[in-house]
């Protein structure tokens, strides 16, 4: 009731159409809403919408935020809301640009941290159970290490670090296990904790790739008797002359 009357005060002097548009934008919360979607929801013609939006913006009731998903798209949200990460791109975007170098540096630092931890565990020559447990680091530990390194200009959350650690998993350099943790344990979320450990690849680079054929750009065109064939392959000659 109170909220409504406050809003009603703000909207004094606006007509029902403006109220409708405002309501639609309010409903979109901090994800914002695109002008075309406002049109669909309100069934108002485009020219009307644009007029209303300009009006609301000048009254400082709404603002436009550029979405990182499509750089030409603008979403509208209430003036005093903090835009959601999906719109701004979060820690990995500065002004719509993906900071790939920054991500790369974090990737390497996390990897080195975990590798050092694993090595220390191996060298400790304790019994195997202790060795294994001490080679793990929780996402909280890694987050703390990165924060203390001070290499990030922006504040990074533990979730941010987890997305970096996931890329290390996809690189095949790190493995993760989830363990149950008592509520209140440092770094636990919803009774679980994620542990990460640096690992070695389980095989050497495979045989096919160590021959010239595995990396050859014209592999599909090569056959005996053709213009490109194993008998007249220069890569093969070079390789066999080791």
């Amino acid at each position: 009731r109170i909220k409504e009357s406050q809003n009603a005060g703000k909207m004094k002097g606006s007509d029902n159409q403006e109220k409708l548009v405002y309501q639609i934008i309010e409903d979109a919360a901090n994800k914002g809403i695109w002008s075309r979607d406002i049109r669909y929801k309100s069934n108002l013609p485009l020219t009307e919408i644009n007029k209303i939006l300009k009006n609301l913006e000048s009254k400082k009731l709404i603002k436009a935020v550029k979405s990182v998903a499509a750089s030409k798209k603008k979403v509208y949200m209430l003036y005093n809301l903090q835009p959601d990460r999906s719109v701004t791109g979060g820690a990995w975007y500065s002004d719509q640009d993906f900071e790939s170098e920054f991500v790369e540096v974090l990737n390497q630092q996390c990897c080195k941290f975990l590798q050092t931890k694993a090595e220390a565990a191996r060298d400790s020559k304790q019994n195997p159970m202790i060795q294994r447990n001490s080679s793990f680091a929780s996402s909280h530990e890694v987050w703390k290490y990165i924060c203390e390194l001070g290499i990030s200009k922006v504040e990074l959350s533990m979730e941010d670090i987890e997305t970096i650690l996931n890329t290390l998993i996809y690189d095949g350099k790190v493995e993760m296990t989830i363990i149950a943790a008592k509520e209140g344990t440092v770094g636990s979320v919803d009774g679980h904790m994620k542990l990460y450990r640096a690992v070695n690849p389980i095989i050497q680079p495979t045989g096919l790739i160590r021959t010239p054929c595995g990396l050859c750009p014209v592999f599909d065109d090569c056959h005996e008797g053709g213009e490109i064939s194993p008998s007249n392959c220069i890569y093969m000659v070079e390789w066999l002359e080791f």
Binding site: S100, P128, M129, D171, V199, I203, I209, E224
Partner: protein, 412 residues
């Protein structure tokens, strides 16, 4: 069977057996199974030549035959078996690493001759080994027989299927082709031969037949042979067993890379214990108790039982899932998950190919897709944390070489 495979088989047959065998063999590989007369007709060769070629191929386990219901015999040459010829050096080398020179020569003789009796193998290998020894020394048949028995015990060599005993009183005419069979129990049983003798040097004229003409001496040897005591019992190399050995090696080395030397030795012990008790296509080994494993560890390994138990627990808990726990009796029952291990090794091989061929960023995307099964373009960029433009490039590159595929999903 691709054109390239057929060409390769034909080259292998030519190199090892000559033109005539090559022609017949290649023909059979291309056409599947055929009876004798059809082969002769289609290849335009005389019946006699075809018979001789088939003999050679059957002797070398490259062709099999089957009595069809309508009373004629069809011959078949599986392409995959001919391709195994490429692996002979690897099999021989494996025998060398496990049973040293004697094992190497026994397996080599069996592979080069297809099928042989034990006495013939022992004699030949003893002669060959004697050649390489110092003057005056000879290789004793007994030692070679021992190695032969060990190879049979570990199933690297096996008995060939034999013709059934024909009873005199049988009235029915003999079938056009004998159905060969070997009893499961007898496949690795070494005949009880008392082979006494020593290897002979080829060049040596210092034995009793001193001074005689070389041709006469050879004839005398053949005459004095008589019918060997194990006539009719032929042996061949058991190729599948060698493949099983390679599989075991791959699993052990994967564990060594991911964990440590001790863990890999434990896994090697478990695999060795399961060598003959588990079939090569089984999804996991028979359960082994921690006590049994402790007793079977190699002599040099000095770890206490508690530490072994810790290692076993760690192996069972590892995300690799190569080892599983199947029960608690006997100190804990453990199995090796063979199919899971092979699948993991295959996946790692694929990832290695992508990594070397396209680069580590592409490898990241590839591994991501393997885990998540299906992803949209945007999701790939977000999970892999690769800028949109580069991610697109990489996906299209892999798409163009057929490493990833695109699927249209209707928008709801």
């Amino acid at each position: 069977m691709t054109q390239a495979e057929i060409k390769l088989c034909s080259l292998l047959l030519q190199e090892h057996f000559g033109e005539i065998v090559e022609k017949i063999g290649t023909h059979l590989i291309k056409t599947g199974s055929q009876p004798l007369r059809v082969i002769a007709n289609d290849t335009g060769m005389s019946l006699d030549q075809v018979k001789k070629a088939l003999c050679v191929l059957i002797q070398h386990n490259l062709v099999t035959y089957q009595l069809q219901k309508r009373g004629f015999v069809e011959y078949e040459a599986p392409c995959s078996r001919v391709l195994r010829i490429l692996r002979y050096p690897r099999y021989i080398y494996t025998a060398k690493t496990l049973y040293s020179d004697m094992g190497e020569l026994i397996v080599e003789e069996l592979l080069l001759n297809g099928k042989m009796t034990m006495s013939a193998v022992v004699r030949k290998v003893a002669d060959r080994l004697t050649e390489t020894m110092e003057d005056g020394k000879t290789m004793d048949y007994g030692e070679v027989s021992n190695t032969f028995m060990r190879l049979a015990d570990t199933h690297f060599i096996q008995r060939c299927p034999m013709a059934p005993e024909t009873t005199e009183t049988s009235d029915a005419p003999p079938p056009p082709a004998p159905t060969l069979a070997v009893n499961e129990k007898d496949m690795y049983v070494v005949p009880n031969l008392n082979l006494i003798g020593k290897g002979k040097r080829r060049r040596s004229f210092d034995d009793e037949d001193n001074g005689e003409h070389k041709a006469k001496r050879q004839k005398q040897d053949a005459d004095s042979q008589e019918s060997p005591p194990d006539d009719g019992i032929y042996w061949q190399a058991n190729i599948d067993r060698f493949h099983q050995h390679f599989r075991d090696q791959a699993i052990v080395s994967a564990v060594a890379n991911r964990m440590d030397q001790t863990s890999s030795e434990i896994v090697r012990t478990m695999l060795r214990m399961s060598e003959i008790t588990t079939s090569s296509t089984a999804p996991y080994t028979q359960p082994l108790s921690s006590n049994e494993i402790f007793r079977s560890l190699p002599a040099g390994y000095n770890i206490v039982k508690q530490i072994l138990d810790q290692y076993l627990t760690l192996l069972a808990d590892d995300p690799l899932e190569f080892v599983g726990k199947s029960g608690d009796s006997g100190g804990g029952m453990y199995v090796i998950n063979l199919h899971k291990a092979l699948a993991t090794l295959a996946t790692a091989t694929l990832e290695s190919v992508v990594q070397e061929r396209f680069g580590s960023r592409c490898a990241r995307i590839f591994r991501l897709l393997l885990r998540k099964k299906h992803l949209e373009q945007k999701q790939v960029e977000d999970f892999a944390m690769i800028p949109a433009k580069e991610a697109k490039d990489m996906l299209y590159k892999m798409l163009s070489e057929n490493f990833v595929s695109l699927q249209d999903r209707r928008q709801r």
